[in-house]
Every structure is written in C-alpha cells, then in structure tokens.
C-alpha cells in the first residue's frame, strides 16, 4: 500500500533538549496516509527521542506535531486515542502479565465489544501468540516478545503504528519474518513510521526515508534511491548494515 497523498502525521521543526544536550534540533517529517516511512540513524542520533516526542513522552522545546492537520495533544493517552501507537525500543512487554493481558491492556482505549474482533485480527497476523495466550510474557522468546509488542500496539487499532528499532537483538531470520508482517499490516491500511539502525531492512520495507544525524536531518528521499546513494551506502549500509547480527 503506497501513500495516497493525504498527510496523516506531520512533525514540524521538533526540538528536544535533555538539560544542556540538544537531542533533536529542528527535525521535520511527514507521513502520508497508507505510507511506510523510516528514519535511520546511528546510536544517539535522536531516533528514540523523536518517537517519544511524537507520543508526548518527552517535553518539546519547540515545534509542532499535526495529525490530520490538527495539533496533536502532548498528553500520551490522548495521542493514543488520536490513533498513534508505539512499539517501544526494547519491546517492553509486561513480563508478569500473560500474553492475553498484554493484548488487553493494549486495547485500553477500545470498547469492550470490539476487543474480540481485534484479537482475531492480531492472531491472524501472529498465530503463535494465540497458542501462548495464558503464558507469561516474560517467558516468551525475544522474537515472540517483539511480535507481542507489535500485536499489543495494534490492539489500539492505530492509524499510525510507530516502531522503535523492532529488529533490535533479533536473529536475521526473525527480523525478516517480522518485517514481512509489517508489510502485511501496512497493506491492511495501517500507516507505519519506523526508526531503525538496521538501515538496510528499514529501507527495503519503507516507501520513503529520512536520515537523522545528531538531531538533524541529513537527507531524505525515496527509500529505493537512498539504498543506492553512495554516502548512505558508506555510512549506514557498509559495516553499519551488519548491526542486526551484532
């Protein structure tokens, strides 16, 4: 599913500081309805900060976030109600809760009557979760936890699914499976915003991409073009592409 040309989520000139450190110094990004956009960047580039800023988890020092052209609330729970759901870095499943409870808390903003249908939907994407409904999330493998974290976010029925380094710490074969599911999720109408250090996987999946370097935009363009870009190849796809296995 490619973009339809209607702007869904837009970040304008976002600035975030941690004390004296400027983590984001004026980063802008646009996500069209139906699109997959990725943000790639090295360690400490500000990728997680950007995601947290969108979700209202860190305080903005400047800039605006628009959803459907309207300012998005800086309160996290309102951003979720507005249609954003984040799969946080490091998965962060609720380890002492069961798989089912994790999915139900993901549906916190939903009406009880809709939950069963949404459960069926995420089971169709990740059938393995269905077999493990009663299992504690902390006992799942890393790949299963990532699936659960994605499914949990989907239970909010988001219009934009945000993912912070979904490939982190996973074996290449598991990464391929998960990225395949992400494409399927997108084909079912969910727009996706992905941040990754695993530039190759991210560029292969996304339609467009932004390269973030120390809080600033370095480059943006079609993912296919960026994959061929000599600078990007040298900086992010050379040794950098092997990071998933590191």
């Amino acid at each position: 599913m490619a973009g339809t040309g209607k702007s869904l989520l837009e970040a304008r000139d976002l600035r975030v500081n941690y004390g004296a450190i400027a983590a984001l110094s004026g980063f802008s990004l646009k996500l069209m309805e139906g699109e997959i956009v990725s943000v790639i960047g090295a360690n400490g580039a500000g990728k997680s900060t950007f995601m947290n800023a969108l979700m209202g988890m860190v305080k903005l020092a400047g800039g605006t976030i628009l959803l459907d052209g309207c300012p998005l609330s800086t309160r996290t729970w309102k951003a979720v109600q507005g249609g954003l759901a984040l799969v946080p870095e490091g998965r962060r499943v609720f380890a002492p809760l069961t798989v089912e409870e994790n999915l139900r808390i993901g549906a916190f903003t939903r009406r009880e009557a809709d939950i069963q249908e949404d459960l069926d939907w995420v089971f169709s994407l990740f059938p393995r979760l269905k077999e493990r409904l009663g299992q504690y999330a902390g006992t799942l493998s890393g790949g299963e936890q990532q699936m659960l974290a994605i499914a949990r976010a989907l239970m909010a029925r988001p219009r934009v699914l945000l993912l912070d380094e979904p490939s982190l710490g996973l074996a290449p074969i598991v990464i391929r499976d998960i990225f395949k599911e992400l494409r399927r999720i997108n084909e079912q109408g969910v727009s996706i915003l992905l941040v990754e250090q695993n530039a190759k996987q991210a560029l292969l999946l996304s339609h467009r991409a932004y390269v973030l370097q120390t809080g600033r935009l370095l480059k943006e363009g079609n993912s296919r073009d960026l994959l061929q870009d000599p600078d990007i190849r040298a900086a992010y796809l050379g040794q950098g592409a092997g990071r998933g296995a590191a």
Partner: protein
C-alpha cells in the same frame, strides 16, 4: 508462663485479628510502592484522617456507623489523592530519584499529625461504645473471641477480596497491574497515568481508613496513631514490597508473632520480636517473600 493449648488458640485468634488490620494498611504501602517505587510514610497520616473523620461523623454530626465509616473512607482517600497532587507530583515531575518522595512523605506525615494536634488536641479519644458490637463469645476452655475481632477479620477479608477482584477483573485494575510492572509503558497503552496514580492513592487511603477505624476501636484514637503503620510497613517489607499477597502474608505472620510473644513470653517483648524478625528475614531474603529481587527499595 507455661504452655497451654487454650492460650495458643486464644493468641492465634488475636494474632489473626491484629494481622488482618495490618494487612489493610500494608496493602496500601505495597500498592503505592508498586507504582511509584517509594515507601509512602504519609500512609500513617491517611489512617489518622480516617480515624478522626469517623469519630467526628459519629459524635459531632451524629451519623450512624455505616455512613460515618463511608465518610471516613472517602475523606482519607481524598486526603491521599491531595497529598499526591500537592506534595509528590511536583517532585515526580522534576526528578526520577524516589528518595525525595520518601522524604516528602515523612514530612507530610508529621504535618497531618500536627494538624490534628493543633486543631483537635492531642488527647486520647475513644470511638463511642455503641459504634461496633462489643460482645464476647466464649469458645470453651477459657478461649474467647470478641465481636470486634470477628468484625475486623471479616471486614478486612471483604476489602482485600474486593481489592483483588478490582485488580484482576476490571480494566483499570489491569492498568494498575501493568503500571506496577512498567509505568511509562502503561502510559503508552493510552492509560491516563495521572488519573491512575490518583486512583491508586485513593484506594490506598481508603484501605488505610478502614485500618484506622479498627485500630481506634482496638486501642484508641490520638494524632500519633499513625505510627502503628510502621508495623504494617514492616509486614509489607517482609512480604516483599510491591507484592499484595506478600503484604497480606507478612501482616498475618507479624500479627501472629506479636500475639504469640505476648501470650507465651511477655507483652513487653512484642516489639523486640517483631523487629528482630524483620532483620532476620531481610538477612535471609532481602526482597521479602514475594518481592522483586532487582532494584533498590526505599
């Protein structure tokens, strides 16, 4: 004192009754700890608010027991919510270091205590005789059980079961359990974290009031009554801070240890045994029975 079966049974009954009151209070400590990772020593103050609210509703305004109790629970819950808003939230928003919250809570406890000293005076009061049933039942062999013991056991059990049902069967209960595991991530699920924290404080305050009322019946009511929560806090630590079943188990162990010491050794040895027990258990199991081993506890 020599061993006798009737003393044993008698002290077990007394211990369970005392332990059940500790449990109501200990659960409040654990509930707040599980979400915000600090020991809220203002909890004793909430208990005192509950005790006095019940006293004045009964004596000054002449309400019946049920209305007075309900009013006391609400008052204590609201004071707990207000304390969080005015004293803890500003600190939480400035620093992630929970030690400041702990210190603030000690301050709040002293403030609440002294508000009562200044406004109603430090004298010891008793809830009116007619408030709770006062009968004593003879179980044979000299073993007796008082109606108020039975009542406190039953009421504590009812409130603890209600709390358990709330946590396991409701949407907000699930949110609280998720927040206990990871507050930030719970926020990402669309849970209004500010409201959730207020809700947790309300529930903790409400349970403290129940404990406060029963302690006022068992002992009497005075501004420093809240210091008894130290024992409930110890019970929560023994059970594992942040764990509700742990808080209940720890409370029953503590209540029994106290009463058995009183029955078989001497009443003066009660605190010695209780505090030694705490040190011993912390030596063997630093995280308590059901505590999360990782992370510091303050």
């Amino acid at each position: 004192m020599s061993f006798s079966l009737s003393t044993l049974i008698q002290q077990i009954i007394n211990g369970l009754s005392l332990g059940s009151v500790y449990a109501l209070i200990a659960v409040g400590y654990s509930l707040v700890y599980s979400i915000l990772l600090f020991s809220n020593f203002a909890h004793g103050g909430f208990l005192v608010v509950g005790g006095y609210a019940c006293y004045f509703l009964l004596t000054q305004w002449g309400y019946n027991t049920a209305v007075s109790m309900a009013g006391a629970l609400a008052a204590s819950g609201l004071v707990a919510v207000l304390t969080e808003r005015l004293a803890y939230k500003p600190i939480r928003e400035r620093t992630p270091i929970t030690l400041y919250l702990l210190i603030a809570s000690m301050g709040v406890n002293i403030v609440i205590e002294n508000i009562f000293v200044v406004t109603v005076g430090g004298r010891i009061r008793a809830l009116p005789q007619s408030t709770f049933p006062t009968g004593v039942f003879e179980l044979g062999g000299g073993v007796t059980v008082s109606a108020s013991d039975i009542l406190s056991l039953v009421v504590a059990a009812v409130f603890l079961v209600l709390l358990q049902l709330f946590l396991t069967r409701t949407r907000w209960g699930l949110a609280i359990r998720a927040a206990a595991c990871d507050l930030r991530t719970a926020g990402l699920m669309g849970v209004n974290v500010t409201f959730l924290i207020a809700l947790v404080f309300f529930v903790a305050g409400l349970l403290a009031a129940v404990g406060g009322i029963f302690l006022s019946v068992r002992y009497s009511l005075y501004p420093q009554l809240g210091s008894i929560t130290t024992k409930a806090f110890i019970a929560a630590v023994i059970g594992g801070l942040g764990s509700l079943p742990g808080a209940v188990l720890g409370s029953l162990i503590l209540g029994l240890a106290e009463m058995l010491t009183a029955g078989f050794i001497s009443s003066q040895m009660r605190d010695l045994v209780v505090y030694s027990l705490l040190v011993l258990i912390l030596l063997v199991r630093p995280a308590g029975f059901f505590g999360r081993p990782a992370g510091e506890k303050i």
